[in-house]
């Protein structure tokens, strides 16, 4: 198990990460979602020891990765582009990875290269953007690390490559003992892939859901009252949208009174709507639905 224990990161008196706390179980996909600049990348970079946290620790099987960096055999960080290796040839990269990661599986690497029809090249700058993204993932999974951290893995890729990548990720998790932590500002892609979603806002975890329970925790309804919305209702709900007298609301299911209060005012219309992660995103993180 990988544990992110109360990570706080302060840079120049500005708090970038604030008391981030969660666990990553093996075989899970965890989505880290939030608007741009909210600290997602900082979090991932801290989880692999690139950045040192101001407070807190990252543990793998009860050992701190900062005190025992050898534990990072089990963590791979895949940045949004493999820029660090751009002058390297495919074979040089295999050599250096084999030297770095004990469990690097050369056969598996070439098998995947073949499967995605990636040629070996003299310099990986010769790859197209989509190929680079695929290549980074193939490398990461070939190390047989248990925790793979992906920073916006599908950002700016075309639909076909994007689908290839997402399928690949799912297969890897389905196959065995690997967990994926994936950051994205694209909710629609992550929504059904993840076991858990971590919603970040201003460097903190705003919410942490398990996918299965997420939709049972909240309810989206459309309500129309005779007149304006009564003040006591406002206290119990989040208003997603208002068009004239028609309100779209998100109701927290743990608030048992909420629906009763609405019913007391005898709404003209009370209709449950399908709820998506995006609705929650907007409610929780505020602002409009433009999350990119």
């Amino acid at each position: 198990m990988m544990k992110v224990e109360r990570i706080t990161k302060v840079v120049q008196k500005e708090t970038i990460l604030n008391d981030i706390n969660f666990n990553v179980e093996l075989g899970h996909i965890i989505g880290v979602v939030g608007r741009n600049g909210v600290g997602k990348t900082t979090l991932l970079r801290t989880m692999v020891g690139i950045l040192l946290p101001t407070n807190g620790d990252v543990m793998i099987d009860e050992a701190s990765i900062f005190k025992q960096p050898a534990k990072k055999q089990d963590v791979m960080f895949v940045p949004d582009s493999p820029e660090a290796l751009k002058q390297y040839s495919t074979n040089e990269i295999v050599r250096i990875y084999e030297a770095t990661y004990h469990r690097f599986d050369r056969n598996y690497f070439y098998e995947l290269m073949e499967r995605f029809s990636l040629p070996t090249v003299k310099k990986i700058t010769h790859y197209s953007k989509g190929m680079k993204a695929l290549f980074s993932l193939i490398l990461a999974f070939s190390t047989r690390a248990k925790y793979i951290l992906l920073d916006e893995p599908t950002d700016g890729l075309d639909v076909i490559v994007k689908k290839q990548i997402l399928q690949f990720l799912i297969e890897e998790v389905a196959d065995g003992d690997v967990s994926i932590i994936i950051s994205s500002h694209r909710l629609d892609e992550l929504e059904f892939m993840c076991d858990e979603i971590i919603l970040m806002k201003d460097g903190s975890i705003e919410s942490h859901y398990e996918l299965a329970e997420m939709k049972t925790m909240y309810k989206k309804v459309q309500v129309v009252f005779e007149k304006e919305m009564p003040a006591d209702v406002t206290k119990h709900v989040n208003i997603l949208n208002q068009t004239g007298r028609v309100y779209t609301l998100i109701i927290d299911q743990s608030d048992e009174e909420a629906e009763q209060v609405i019913a007391n005012h005898q709404p003209v219309l009370f209709e449950e709507l399908p709820i998506s992660l995006e609705d929650l995103f907007v409610t929780k993180l505020g602002g409009d639905s433009d999350v990119s």
Partner: protein
């Protein structure tokens, strides 16, 4: 501590610079020996046959111990260290390296070790080659009269000291250019500063001789490039001259201190400041003050140099000019410092 992956990485990162270092040392020793010998032969031929004694031990000594190679090596080593740390900070390579399952201090140590081994190997090889060339020539009899081992040792460990220092500066500088500049400034700072202060004092008093001249020798010992360019008046009978022990002691102690300090600071590396002028922000005010004051002293000296100092030492006009220069330069340095504080040089990919 010795990870193969780090060797592969460092080699790929620095092999061009290592190649240049080899070439520089090759030019400085074997090549220079060949060229010098050609010159001597020319000289002998032009006079007459039996003046071989004209070529003295001093000439041979100078082939091996001269400031030329040292000056080149200052630049080679500072750029080598810059490529090892500063350049990685400019690109995403540093991120990549730190995500590896190694202690940061091991990463730093591997860089140091690779540079140091390259310096030793290339130096010994090229000096040895030059020695073989000379000893197989008609000048071999003179070669046997010379004691230069101790000077060569000081030079070799002087290179290592300077390289270690440049790596150390890499742990506090945010990127390559600032690492190179800060290394060069700090390495000559003790000597530079004493000259600036000395000049300042002289202008305010009526003396024409240096007030601090007694300290010059002592200051040399803590000015790093000194060991790379030192040259002694040659005395053939002095097999082990006195300063050797002291110099070796200072250089080795310095290297060890810089190496340990570098490993310590690299371990606390604040990657979030990569691309900025300094990594450790606590040093910023100190550095700012230092830059402003030094530029002030330099400016004072510079403006003041427009009038002959014999006429004006201690004169009000001289002092007045000095302070105008001081303030002018300090002001510009202040603007520069503010600019440096905001800079961020990070190369992003084009795609």
């Amino acid at each position: 501590m010795f990870h193969k992956a780090l060797w592969l990485w460092n080699w790929k990162q620095t092999r061009i610079m290592l190649g240049i270092m080899f070439v520089v040392l090759f030019m400085s020793f074997p090549f220079y020996a060949l060229v010098s010998m050609e010159g001597w032969r020319d000289r002998i031929e032009r006079i007459d046959r039996y003046t071989i004694a004209d070529i003295t031990a001093r000439d041979i000594y100078n082939v091996f111990v001269n400031p030329g190679s040292g000056v080149f090596m200052v630049f080679v080593l500072v750029i080598l260290a810059g490529m090892m740390i500063g350049l990685e900070r400019n690109t995403r390579k540093h991120d990549f390296l730190l995500s590896w399952p190694f202690h940061r201090r091991d990463i730093f140590f591997s860089k140091w070790l690779m540079g140091t081994l390259a310096i030793i190997t290339f130096f010994v090889f090229n000096v040895g080659l030059a020695y073989i060339i000379v000893s197989n020539s008609e000048f071999a009899p003179i070669l046997n009269d010379i004691q230069m081992t101790s000077d060569l040792i000081v030079r070799l460990i002087g290179f290592i000291l300077f390289f270690t220092f440049a790596l150390l500066i890499g742990t506090i500088a945010g990127e390559m250019i600032s690492q190179v500049i800060l290394t060069l400034i700090f390495s000559v700072l003790p000597f530079g500063l004493i000259i600036l202060i000395d000049e300042g004092l002289r202008i305010h008093t009526s003396t024409t001789t240096s007030n601090l001249i007694n300290y010059y020798e002592w200051i040399s010992y803590i000015t790093l490039p000194y060991y790379m360019v030192l040259e002694r008046p040659y005395q053939s009978d002095l097999s082990m001259y006195e300063p050797f022990i002291l110099e070796t002691f200072i250089v080795i102690t310095g290297t060890v201190i810089f190496l340990i300090l570098g490993m310590f600071l690299y371990e606390r590396n604040k990657v979030e400041h990569n691309g900025e002028f300094l990594i450790f922000k606590l040093l910023q005010p100190v550095l700012n003050t230092g830059i402003v004051v030094c530029f002030g002293l330099l400016g004072g000296m510079f403006i003041r140099s427009f009038i002959p100092f014999q006429l004006s030492n201690g004169s009000l006009f001289g002092i007045f000019l000095y302070w105008i220069g001081f303030n002018l330069f300090a002001f510009f340095a202040y603007l520069l410092v503010r600019r440096l504080q905001r800079m961020n040089i990070t190369l992003k990919s084009k795609t």
